[in-house]
């Protein structure tokens, strides 16, 4: 089957996740969709799979315009998708997961589907036991199961969204082999990935997306450098931030491992010194979030040791981290950082620890007035956090930070902000560095990291694969590391 997407649009309010994308996938090929986080890859594929409705554009299957609105319609037309977060039923068995959505009626069809499943498992040389519960499977095995299920529905076009994140090399090999086999059997495969290596190894053709638009496409053999520049744009000029004298060691991690996100964090060892501005690069969910939360004392590490100013923090609770001056600002401001129903002034009152029984509303009010002005938050003391725009929420969070912090941990502090707000945030944070506060931030924007950070840690699949001073590297090298090539 041949898929053609013409002038695809998907808008969320004023945000254009897909902005006029044209793409053709030929029958019997493996087509890679490459791009950074937020480039619009997953959105495009979810539209193709019928999971979300499109804003505009045409989907043409074998030269016929097709209009469909649900995943069921898509699979009836031969399109199936393996979502990034597996959409399955962990408490149910493999066989049951296989059957849901295919089997109807009230007569017992277990035997027939068991045979079908076992045949497919054998065909692809997988080793899944039909009778274990899905929660006991690895991420890779869950993918295999989902793939088999889609194939048994008669899927002609298989979409895989970041399938290689969080699976072992062996499983990756098995997956790639089976995908090659599918292509040779005449099926089309669309592989969504941010990993250059995987796309190079597998795809016949690669299309690169950046900020919701196609920036180019390429056939085998690939020129890695050109692909990288399609993904990340032209390398920016290094900025000129005045150097800061570093002080003593603030945070020290030794062999820290932890659970979370899809990859977790494994065996991370670093030292952070006063006044350092460290940028965490890497695709979203490569372990940066776990790293920040472990450093903040929110997630407990499963292994390794962590200390502040030489004091061992293992076994200490969150309160002890707070007392040591650690501050963490999460990326999802409204979900984890602010109280949506509380007003600005209530946030200031809440921050004001103290032991008094009553809230000092006058103080909170005047402080919130003063700070909203200083931090240019567009809102009155009575505006509730939910009603603020993203940029103003971020400013509010920053205005709540205490000046005495020793370590600032910021998760994507400029996510969703406009240029003006972004510049303001960095200008404000650089003042902390001058006060000898260590700042660690994560970002999915490599340009931003290059222009702000003094030191860069690149995360890949839950490990730090590169730890380098900004002036000792360049965008190209970092982009390679992000895509898993050191």
């Amino acid at each position: 089957m041949r898929i053609e997407l013409r002038d695809m649009h998907k808008h969320y309010g004023s945000i254009k996740a897909n902005n006029g994308i044209n793409l053709t996938v030929e029958e019997g090929t493996i087509h890679g969709i490459l791009g950074e986080n937020g480039a619009g890859k997953s959105t495009l594929m979810k539209v193709l799979a019928g999971y979300i409705p499109k804003t505009g554009g045409e989907i043409i299957i074998d030269d016929k315009i097709q209009d469909y609105h649900t995943p069921a319609d898509a699979s009836r037309r031969g399109i199936g998708m393996l979502y990034q977060e597996p959409l399955d039923y962990p408490p149910l068995t493999v066989l049951e997961n296989f059957m849901i959505g295919q089997a109807g009626g009230v007569s017992n069809k277990t035997l027939r589907f068991r045979e079908k499943l076992e045949d497919l498992i054998r065909h692809f040389n997988f080793t899944i036991d039909p009778d274990v519960r899905v929660k006991q499977l690895t991420v890779g095995e869950r993918q295999q199961l989902e793939m088999l299920r889609l194939l048994s529905l008669g899927i002609e076009v298989l979409i895989l969204d970041e399938p290689t994140t969080g699976i072992s090399d062996l499983q990756k090999e098995a997956l790639f082999n089976s995908l090659r086999r599918l292509a040779s059997e005449g099926k089309s495969v669309i592989l969504v990935s941010h990993k250059l290596k995987d796309s190079e190894a597998l795809c016949d053709r690669v299309t690169v997306l950046r900020e919701g638009e196609v920036t180019g496409s390429m056939e085998k053999p690939y020129d890695a450098n050109e692909l990288l520049s399609m993904m990340f744009g032209e390398p920016p000029l290094p900025s000129t931030r005045s150097p800061v004298e570093y002080g003593g060691t603030v945070l020290s991690m030794k062999n820290i491992s932890g659970l979370g996100e899809r990859t977790g964090l494994s065996r991370c060892t670093i030292d952070v010194r006063e006044g350092e501005m460290i940028g965490l690069a890497g695709l979203e969910g490569s372990g940066q979030g776990v790293f920040l939360r472990i450093a903040a004392g929110i997630t407990k590490p499963t292994d390794g040791s962590l200390s502040f100013f030489g004091e061992d923090m293992s076994g200490k609770n969150l309160h002890a981290f707070k007392k040591a001056g650690v501050v963490f600002l999460p990326a999802s401001r409204l979900e984890e950082g602010l109280m949506p129903d509380l007003s600005i002034q209530e946030h200031f009152a809440l921050k004001e620890g103290g032991s008094s029984f009553f809230v000092k509303w006058d103080e909170a009010r005047s402080e919130s007035r003063e700070k909203t002005e200083k931090f240019r938050v567009k809102g009155t003391p009575d505006t509730i956090a939910e009603a603020l725009s993203g940029g103003n929420q971020q400013r509010l969070m920053l205005s709540l930070l205490s000046k005495e912090s020793t370590l600032l941990l910021l998760e994507q502090p400029t996510r969703g902000l406009d240029v003006e707000s972004t510049n303001w945030v960095w200008w404000h944070l650089s003042k902390y560095c001058l006060r000898k506060t260590a700042v660690i931030f994560s970002s999915t924007d490599l340009d931003e990291i290059m222009s702000i950070a003094d030191r860069i840690l690149v995360f890949f699949d839950g490990t730090i694969i590169k730890d380098v001073k900004r002036d000792k590297t360049d965008t190209k090298e970092l982009a390679k590391a992000i895509a898993g090539k050191v």
Partner: protein, 327 residues
């Protein structure tokens, strides 16, 4: 002391458990699909009243049962519409309906208080009833009791042996995944909410036309709905285990009569609350049994593992969280 006859005792348990068993099975279906219908206690009262009034006026027991089941489904429909389509708190709506349906039952049923009316008589099954012991325990009852017995197996079979039952379980686990697989999670949940309400309605009818014939205030069915809700949890959302819970409860109730003779100072009501601490204990234990450290501790200790398995009743993952549109 009156004669203690095990056959009569167990026969009484099977008969007495019928309404609560029906309600428990109904709620198990509803919750398995991911929706909590908290209105059970009121629904049972309202359908009990409906059954009696309709049967009294039409002189048809069947009409009584059918109308009660419809009323049960109607109340459930309100819960379903509010929670699935209007995205309101299931707990809030269910709770309001609990009180409201009960009061509605008292209000509308007022003219029929203590009026002698029709009731379902025993219908022993020929031949089977002559089997020693088993015949007396299982096959010497009225039709609703047979129905309740039959439903245990039927619902179990439907849930665990048919593709439709698999869908039912899947929508309670992950409605989003169902949507991706071409199943409309909202209408599926609505269907099973109605279905569960239907059985709860039958439970009410069984009360007023069979177990405790007649209508009055108090009717005697008060509190049953709450117990049924507790039994669903006790049963780990599994129809057979829930049924065992219902029989256990009925056994406690029947034994209450004996206990009262043995411990005359303790009123019967005290024995009636026994299932509730049991429910809390079970809930604590379910939570406890799922802790990783506990599971690790159980490695290599056979008896502990068996106990943990017994309490591993997994709550449907999406229970109380209906599918939201627009992601």
């Amino acid at each position: 002391m009156t004669g203690f006859d095990l056959t009569i005792l167990l026969g009484g348990v099977v008969a007495g458990a019928a309404p609560i068993l029906l309600a428990t099975l109904g709620e198990t279906i509803t919750e398995k699909a991911g929706i909590i219908n908290l209105s059970l206690d009121g629904t049972i009262m309202l359908s009990a009243m409906t059954a009696f009034v309709v049967a009294f006026n039409t002189e048809s027991l069947i009409a009584g049962f059918v109308s009660a089941a419809v009323v049960g489904a109607l109340v459930a429909a309100v819960v379903g519409i509010f929670s699935i389509y209007l995205e309101q708190s299931q707990v809030a709506v269910g709770f309001v309906l609990t009180l409201m349906a009960r009061d509605l039952a008292y209000f509308l049923g007022n003219p029929y208080t203590r009026v002698p009316g029709p009731s379902v008589g025993p219908q022993p099954i020929p031949f089977l009833k002559d089997i020693p012991f088993l015949g007396e325990v299982f096959f010497n009852h009225s039709l609703p009791v047979y129905l309740s017995l039959l439903l245990i197996g039927l619902i179990w079979w439907y849930m665990y042996r048919t593709p439709q039952g698999l869908r039912l379980r899947s929508v309670g686990e992950n409605p989003g995944a169902c949507f991706a697989r071409g199943i409309n999670p909202r209408s599926l949940q609505m269907i099973y909410v109605l279905c569960g309400g239907f059985f709860v309605g039958l439970a009410g009818a069984t009360f007023s036309l069979c177990t405790k014939p007649g209508w009055g205030r108090p009717q005697g069915a008060e509190g049953t709905g709450w117990i049924a809700l507790a039994l669903v949890i006790f049963g780990g959302w599994h129809p057979i285990r829930a049924a065992i819970g219902a029989y256990l409860f009925a056994f406690l109730q029947v034994m209450g009569i004996y206990f009262q003779e043995w411990f005359p100072s303790v009123p019967a009501q005290v024995f009636q609350v026994a299932p509730f601490p049991l429910m809390i204990f079970t809930l604590v234990f379910i939570n406890f049994a799922q802790k990783e450290s506990v599971i690790k501790h159980a490695e290599g200790r056979v008896w502990l593992k068996v106990v943990l398995r017994l309490f591993s009743g997994a709550m449907p993952t999406a229970l109380g969280k209906p599918h939201k549109t627009g992601q």
